[in-house]
């Protein structure tokens, strides 16, 4: 039966697994760099606010403008825009290595906005109480602000990782490799509909697994 309905999936199965692995690698690397950078930017955004610990209007505005600019560029265009930069940084603008740079730059503004929201949900009263205890601002940021925001941060990271899978497929279509380009090359260009279908199933499953693992982690540390 499989042979009848999914002939191409059988034939190109190994390539598909390789493509899926590529996607996993892209998402993991871009995700790790992106989450880290996004979190740092989010913290800076929050502490430089008017009512923040390190109030700094100029820095806040500059950062906000840059984030907004990058958020407003559609990802496909961003990939094209970054070709030279990517080549300069990675030595190539295609394949996994070529995809990671635009993926990071594409996801960081998104992560930083989501993480900013999570950090803003920390009760300002808690920060005030810590200051009233004579605790330093730096200690407050690392030992109170970020730990208190953890459940929200995890949720925002999950959402970002899922978006990143989307970005990876787009990066794939412009030479990035991974399951996205695989689906386009075989499923779309060569009319192998069964490949498209199985790709979709794999993506749907992956997203659901990530989401439910993330929810479980977030709930575990929510008190």
């Amino acid at each position: 039966m499989i042979e009848r309905f999914f002939p191409n999936v059988l034939e190109y199965g190994n390539d598909m697994i390789i493509a899926f692995k590529e996607t996993v690698i892209m998402v993991l690397i871009a995700g790790a760099i992106g989450l880290f950078t996004g979190l740092i930017l989010a913290v800076i955004l929050v502490i430089t606010r008017d009512d923040g610990l390190y109030h700094n209007n100029a820095l806040h505005r500059i950062l906000e403008t840059i984030i907004n600019i990058f958020r407003s560029i559609p990802f496909v265009i961003l990939v094209a825009l970054l070709v030279s930069f990517t080549r300069f940084l990675m030595g190539t603008s295609i394949g996994i290595r070529g995809a990671i740079v635009p993926m990071v730059i594409g996801i960081v503004p998104f992560i930083s906005r989501l993480a900013e929201q999570a950090l803003l949900e920390v009760d300002s009263g808690v920060i005030e109480a810590a200051r009233a205890m004579g605790i330093s601002k730096r200690y407050i940021v690392f030992h109170i602000l970020i730990p208190e925001a953890r459940p929200g941060l995890i949720r925002s990271f999950i959402t970002s990782t899922i978006s990143l899978i989307g970005l990876s497929t787009m990066a794939g279509t412009v030479g990035g490799g991974g399951i996205g380009s695989f689906a386009v090359r075989y499923g779309y260009s060569r009319y192998m509909n069964d490949i498209t279908l199985v790709t979709v199933v794999i993506l749907v499953l992956s997203v659901n697994i990530i989401q439910s693992l993330g929810n479980r982690a977030a709930n575990k540390i929510t008190h």
Binding site: A129, M133, E148
Partner: protein
């Protein structure tokens, strides 16, 4: 010199449109060691800003705040941080860390001060005992009631053994019964640790129950200050009287407005203080001036453990006799208010 001396403190805030609001318009206060000093005022009177000036969370624009002979308005951030070890603070909404359990919440200031694990453990257990929460050690704030949360906050505020405790509307989010138990705890800490407590509130029952000194704040100014009983038994200021009246049960303002004054005689609100808080005076006046005095509502409340009585009465009879009766009451230093209007 007083333990804490606040002199001509002013503070303004700029809003986003650029206009400034003066929140504190020159505050003078003197607080002695061991006082439970209540600052009472309506919301917007500036009391939150005032209490935050005392530990430097807000910086006063001008004036001086002297604690143990050092003016804290001249301190830099680092010096303020070490000053705050001497000044604990608790809040209306408790401000506990949701991600940490009771033990870790209380341990937070100790960890920051780099106490050894043994000392932290000893101190936290000691504090848990003081506030009566030994069995809740491993609970998270979300599993506690409001009163329990405030107890944790008190333990946390006292962790590094401050000599002053600031209470920012600490009981405003609690039900009356829990409020009482928290006030009892504060009172106990005041006595056992010789802790100076400064609290701000809009609830007269807080002042009435534990404060030995009180300041009434209105529109950024201290209207009056002194011993709690003296202020509330003698004050002529309208806002102070309004706060005092708020503790007496009685007819509502609307009821009084609709009261048919002329038919039933003149409506008076009598306030007796100290030993005069009994009603034999009423009977004797009614007898000697031949007036009808009808008691509508009466209650006695205790301020600083001294009684203050409140009576709503109507007085009816020959107009001249009514005047004489009122005069006699005043002579007995009974305070009289005319809820039905002053001149009819």
């Amino acid at each position: 010199m007083s333990y804490i001396r606040i002199k001509d403190v002013k503070k303004s805030f700029k809003n986003k449109k650029g206009s400034t609001t003066e929140v504190l318009k020159g505050i003078d206060l003197e607080i002695e060691q061991g006082d439970i000093y209540g600052i009472i005022g309506y919301s917007g009177a500036g009391k939150s800003t005032l209490i935050r000036c005392i530990n430097g969370l807000e910086k006063a624009d001008s004036g001086s705040i002297t604690i143990e002979e050092s003016d804290i308005t001249t301190l830099n951030e680092k010096q303020l941080m070490s000053l705050r070890l001497k000044i604990g603070m608790i809040f209306q909404h408790f401000n506990l860390l949701r991600s940490k359990n009771v033990y870790d919440n209380i341990a937070l200031p100790l960890k920051y001060q780099k106490y050894s694990a043994d000392r932290i453990d000893k101190r936290v257990n000691e504090l848990l005992e003081t506030v009566g929460l030994t069995d809740k050690k491993r609970s998270y704030p979300s599993q506690l009631s409001g009163g329990q949360k405030q107890r944790v906050a008190i333990a946390r505020a006292l962790a590094v053994k401050p000599s002053i405790l600031l209470c920012d509307e600490a009981t405003s989010a609690l039900d009356p019964q829990t409020t009482e138990s928290i006030l009892d705890l504060l009172s106990k800490l005041n006595k056992e640790l010789n802790l100076t407590i400064i609290l701000i509130t809009h609830q007269m029952n807080v002042i009435q129950r534990i404060c030995n000194k009180v300041a009434v704040i209105d529109d950024g100014r201290i209207v009056e200050q002194g011993n709690t009983f003296d202020i509330f038994s003698k004050s002529e200021k309208e806002i102070t009287r309004a706060f005092l009246n708020s503790i007496f049960k009685g007819p509502s303002r609307d009821d009084l407005k609709n009261y048919p004054d002329h038919e039933n005689g003149r409506l008076l609100h009598l306030i007796f203080t100290g030993e005069k808080a009994n009603d034999s005076l009423i009977t004797s006046i009614a007898k000697s001036f031949d007036t009808d005095i009808n008691i509508l509502f009466g209650s006695i409340e205790y301020v600083e453990n001294k009684p203050i009585g409140s009576l709503y009465v109507t007085i009816k009879g020959d107009p001249k006799a009514v005047e004489e009766s009122i005069k006699k009451l005043k002579e007995q230093s009974v305070r009289i208010e005319y809820p039905g209007g002053d001149t009819n």
